[in-house]
């Protein structure tokens, strides 16, 4: 399959949205996905792109208020986890004195520590891109950009016990599960096609973060940080088979805690 996005797509985006370069880049990324989808039999050509415009969005959802709330709350959840990972990486307000940053510094296996830092850095970067995608989609629907963390969870994150690498990883997994579940439920509530495409595309990545954190947590919990490395190399034969059930414990996971659509909405 060949992506079909190109100049006409970008031109259309720029025509309907007056956005800065970062937002245009994010939209281009999402637009490529829409373009690819449009090459298949199920999608109509440019259907997704047209719904990214305020005019088309208005026709796709009679009342976009709920979609805007969903997207704003999603932005607030992304900020929450960006901050969590930032603290662990020593780039938050407390710098290297953050409990989670100190916890990472205590790891004596330097390969495991470097691997974990790399994974957390990559995960944080991906959440930044998710936030940008949600903010862009919010603006496209005529809503206000949400830049604050979700108030429902802010105090909990601030007081969470992340004083060891394992506790940090376990807590991050809890939040990733909340994000995944929230976006799953949001997909059943949202009406705008572009909002749904964005939610699905981001949810899919949060699910991967969750599986990876579960895997890392299991290795730390089992007292085998020496296996925390990519690639596993010759240690692959020593990695416990139980990791499969840890990373994806059931075929269809139960939805647990979710952030309500209005919980992170801009007042």
């Amino acid at each position: 399959m060949t992506a079909v996005a190109g100049d006409p797509v970008e031109a259309l985006l720029e025509e309907v949205l007056d956005l800065d370069s970062d937002r245009r880049a994010a939209l281009r990324a999402l637009g490529r996905g829409v373009g690819v989808a449009a090459t298949g039999c199920l999608g109509g050509v440019l259907t997704g792109l047209l719904t990214a415009s305020p005019m088309a969005a208005a026709t796709a959802a009679a009342d976009p208020a709920l979609d805007i709330q969903i997207l704003q709350t999603a932005s607030s959840l992304e900020t929450l986890v960006v901050d969590l990972y930032g603290a662990a990486l020593g780039t938050g307000p407390l710098g290297a004195n953050a409990p989670s940053a100190k916890a990472l510094a205590t790891m004596t296996n330097t390969t495991a520590r470097d691997t974990l830092v790399k994974l957390l850095t990559e995960t944080q970067n991906q959440h930044r891109e998710h936030r940008l995608a949600f903010q862009t989609a919010t603006l496209a629907l005529g809503g206000k950009e949400q830049n604050d963390p979700n108030p429902k969870y802010t105090s909990g994150v601030a007081s969470a016990d992340v004083s060891s690498p394992l506790r940090l990883v376990d807590y991050a997994a809890v939040l990733e599960k909340i994000l995944t579940d929230t976006y799953v439920v949001d997909l059943t509530l949202a009406e705008n096609v572009k909002a749904k495409e964005t939610l699905a595309a981001v949810m899919a990545v949060e699910a991967q973060h969750l599986a990876l954190l579960r895997t890392v947590g299991a290795l730390l919990r089992d007292g085998t940080p020496q296996f925390l490395k990519i690639p596993f190399g010759s240690d692959l034969v020593n990695i416990p088979a139980t990791l499969a059930a840890v990373a994806f414990p059931s075929a269809i996971e139960e939805v647990s805690s979710t952030a309500e659509p209005g919980s992170g909405a801009v007042p």
């Binding site: 997704g48 595309a201 269809i252």
Partner: protein, 207 residues
């Protein structure tokens, strides 16, 4: 992991061909998943709406079950060499979970008054079988499994916004999440970046 009869470069080319073949042959397909009888296809009205999506998903879940089954059989026969316990567990668990996923879509088919789909996607099956025949080691098996998961996940990603029934949307989203998680362990087994895409793009979606 290195080496193997199905090298990474060769695999990527074959994977692209698989997706292209699948899309090219599956478009306009559907029809209840029974491609063995042209008469049946001609007389059966085309599926529409959620039933058409469920049909597609069921065909792909059957493809996954078949392919994982073949990989496990090949591994059990010793044709892949020593199989690390984690790799065996991933293949086995993924096959089991895809069987549960198939049941979901056949439930949707039944609810729509349509026949269950118990055959793999006819467009992708020959290509996947051809790739399967080239698998001679654990890396090749993991790469084929990863391609399969990517095709399924991307197809779910593409179809979710088109589904009308809220419960079908929820099921598709939860299954997508699981398929994404299968990919994480397969990539770790292969030594690849487990988080390759910041925002998922459905570039391997079948239709």
């Amino acid at each position: 992991m290195t080496g193997g009869g199905l090298t990474r470069r060769g695999f990527l080319g074959a994977a692209a061909a698989a997706v292209a073949v699948g899309v090219g042959t599956a478009c306009g397909g559907g029809g209840g998943g029974d491609a063995s009888s042209e008469t049946t296809l001609e007389t059966r009205p085309p599926l529409v709406g959620d039933a058409a999506v469920a049909d597609l998903h069921a065909r792909l879940e059957n493809l996954a079950i078949d392919t994982y089954g073949a990989l496990l059989t090949t591994a059990s026969a010793g044709k892949l060499g020593p199989v690390p316990a984690l790799v065996g567990a991933v293949l086995d668990a993924a096959k089991t979970q895809h069987t549960e996923h198939l049941a979901v879509w056949n439930g949707v088919m039944r609810a729509a008054g349509k026949p269950e789909v118990n055959t793999p996607d006819p467009g992708l099956k020959p290509t996947l079988d051809s790739m399967l025949a080239q698998v001679t080691d654990v890396e090749g098996a993991a790469r084929l499994a990863l391609l399969l998961e990517e095709i399924l996940a991307d197809t779910y990603l593409k179809s979710i916004p088109t589904l009308l029934d809220k419960e079908a949307v929820r099921s598709a989203a939860l299954i997508l999440a699981t398929d994404q998680q299968h990919q994480v362990l397969l990539r770790l087994v292969l030594g690849d970046d487990p988080l390759p895409e910041p925002i998922q793009i459905p570039d391997k979606a079948a239709s």
